[in-house]
Every structure is written in structure tokens, then in C-alpha cells.
Symmetry: C2
Subunit: 199 residues, 2 copies
Amino acid sequence: MDQPVINCRPERKDAAENRQRILDAALRLFEEHGVEPVSMNQIAAEAQIGAGTLYRRYRNKNELCMDLIRDPVDQLSRDIKAYLQGNNSSPPSERLRGLLALFLQFKEIHAGLIAGVEHSSAPLGAHSRTSTSLYEEFHQLLVQLFEEVSLEARQAGPDSVFRADMLMIALSSDSYLFQRNVRGNSQDTILDQLCQTFI
Amino acid sequence: MDQPVINCRPERKDAAENRQRILDAALRLFEEHGVEPVSMNQIAAEAQIGAGTLYRRYRNKNELCMDLIRDPVDQLSRDIKAYLQGNNSSPPSERLRGLLALFLQFKEIHAGLIAGVEHSSAPLGAHSRTSTSLYEEFHQLLVQLFEEVSLEARQAGPDSVFRADMLMIALSSDSYLFQRNVRGNSQDTILDQLCQTFI
DNA sequence: TTGACAAGTGGAGACCTCTCCGTTTAATAT
DNA sequence: ATATTAAACGGAGAGGTCTCCACTTGTCAA
């Protein structure tokens, strides 16, 4: 007559081991070949598990990449919080710039994996942007800061949500790498331009 | 002793017929199922040709889509030229808005094919944006108008090329459909917001 | 200890993209 | 008419994504 346990039981031992094998294998292959050219098949083979097992845990390469950069993402999240607390008396436009700087720095370091996360992610394209919690959190912060800016300037700026959407898409790997590689802009230049355009 | 003809001979008769079969088949399938879910295989089968033949002509679905909207694109290009000539005494910011309006209208009508063109297009992601001649042309116009605006305002705005890049990416199907479907903004609202943000 | 059974496994298979290359054929020169 | 030849053809096949499901195995209650 007991209720079936609603809380999921802890991960099974064999499953946990396989998860680790996958992570290790993926990291190894990504380091050797880069993220994009490595296939799910290869990862499964390298981890010595069946394709089905791999797909049971990660529906696609994005999810796998997301798991691989979980720690750096958490760190970034903490860095952002710390920065905002340490500078809460600066004008909002300056905090905005600081935020962007942190974000760009992060992108620079983890470019490969981030592109992996963003790429081919979406069955329903745009939805991917909002699905990552980091992106949602970042978007939220941008909105707040934009509102602060408008408030301070005593004039209604454009819709902050829209503006944040535009800025986020301007920060996508696609756009960033284009500026970096095709336009030949440095990280600093891009940061400057972004501030001039959006703030 | 004749020189071999350098100019390519006119397209062979059978080739021309197959091209038409492909275009017809694609149009039929796209109308029935939408662009995205139709595979190159299906198109080849519907056109009753081998896969190799299809790929000889169109390296991927984007190229095929580009061929399918060639006429509307040319029309848009002419419309833009006409608009600019008819309004060359308006302030540049107004012309900019007019341009965007034309462009958004175009996107609205041909959303499916355009998404098809943009999607999965790029081995080197960002390069796709510059590869379409329409996009290059449009980018060029935006740059010019931005410069006019800065000139008129007697103050150096941010780099016009960068600004145009940002605006173009804001006009991508990804971004546009997100605003349309997730944010629930109408075409007019989006136009307003774009102008407020970028002009 | 021992079922019971949910969770986990793996590989066959459906369908996809794209290439390669032996065969066919339209266009041209003789 | 016939030979030549470059272009076009098509399907086999390599390698990819992802699903399905018969089978195994860890876990827990009895």
C-alpha cells in the first residue's frame, strides 16, 4: 500500500560509470579534433558503449557540451554576481559594460564548446536561446540594467526586453566569430562597438 | 587547331529538363510539407532523378531555395532601388526605416524559403551572411545610410559597418521568428523597436 | 537470499547527407 | 552518318543522427 517513490532514485552505479566514460571520451576527442567534427558515433565508440546508451543520456551534442561546461558556467555565474555586488554603486551603463566584458572573456575561452552548444541546437530554432538557464539569467540581468539606464536618463528608452534580445543575439557565437574572424576585430574592439551600439 | 571554346556551352537539353523537374518537385513538396522537413532525397525521388544528379546542381537545400526565390529577390532589389530614388530627399533615418519595412515585408511573405536559405547553410557559419548577394547589397546600403545619419548629426556615430552587421543579424530569420512567435510582437512592433534600437 | 521490476544497455535499422565513379548521352567535328 | 568527347546521369556506399525494443542488471522489499 506504499506509494511508489516519486523522487527519482539516485543514479544507478553502472549508469554513473557510463556517464563518466562519455564525458572522458568526449573531452579527449574534442581536445584532439575540436568539437564540431566529432560525431556522436565516434564518442560512443571511444567510450565503448552503444549509440543508444549515449543518446539515452544526451539527446544531442549540445546537451553533452552543456554538461561539459557546466562548471565554468557556474563559475561565470558566480563571477557575475560578485562583480555586480562589488560595483553596485557604479552607473548602470558601466555595470553593463563590465557584464559584457565578463561574458566575452568567457566566450573567448570556451569558444569551441559554446559554439557546440549553440550550434544545430534547435528543433525550434529560437527556443534554444531561452532554454539555457545561463542565457535566461543573463538576459534577465540585461533587462534590469537597461531599465536602470532608462530610469536614470529620465527618458523612456526602447523596450528593454527587445534591446536585451538584440544584444544577446549579437553575442551569439555566430555573430561574435564573424566579427572576430571575418571583420578582424579584437575582443576589445567588439566590446567597444557593442557598448556604442546598444548602450 | 581551333581553340577549345572557353565560354561554357549552353546547358544541355536533358540537364535543363532535369533542372525544371527539380524546381517543380521541390515547390510541390515545400507547399505540401513546408521547407524544413523535406529532405534532398525526397526531392530527388519526387523529381525521379538520382541523388547524385540533384547534388550536382545544388550542393544543398539552401542553394535550391535560393534558386526558388530568385525572382522575388530580384523584385525586392528593384523595389528597394525605386524606393530610394523616390525618397532621396527624405532624411536618411526615414529612408532607413523604409528599407527595413520593405525587407521585413519580404521576410514575412517568403519566411519558409528564407529560413531554408539561412538554415544550416554554413560550413563556416557566419560566412553565409555575406555570401548571398542580396545580403551584401543590403548591408552596403545600410552602411551608406548610417554614414549619412552620422554626417547629418555632425557627430561620429559608432562604426557603421559594425552597426550594419548587428542590424542584419537582428533581421535573421532566427531572431525575427523569435520576436514574432515567442515574444508575440507584430511586424510593425518589431519595425518600431528595430528603429529605436539601431537608428 | 531472493524475486520483481524499473532502469539501463546496445545494436539493428530507418532515414539522412553527400561523394565517387562507371555508364549513358547530347552536342559537335569530320 | 559516324566518331569523339565532355557533360550529365544515377545508384551504391560511407558515414552521420536518432529510435526502437529485446535483453540484461542494479536495487530494494520481503
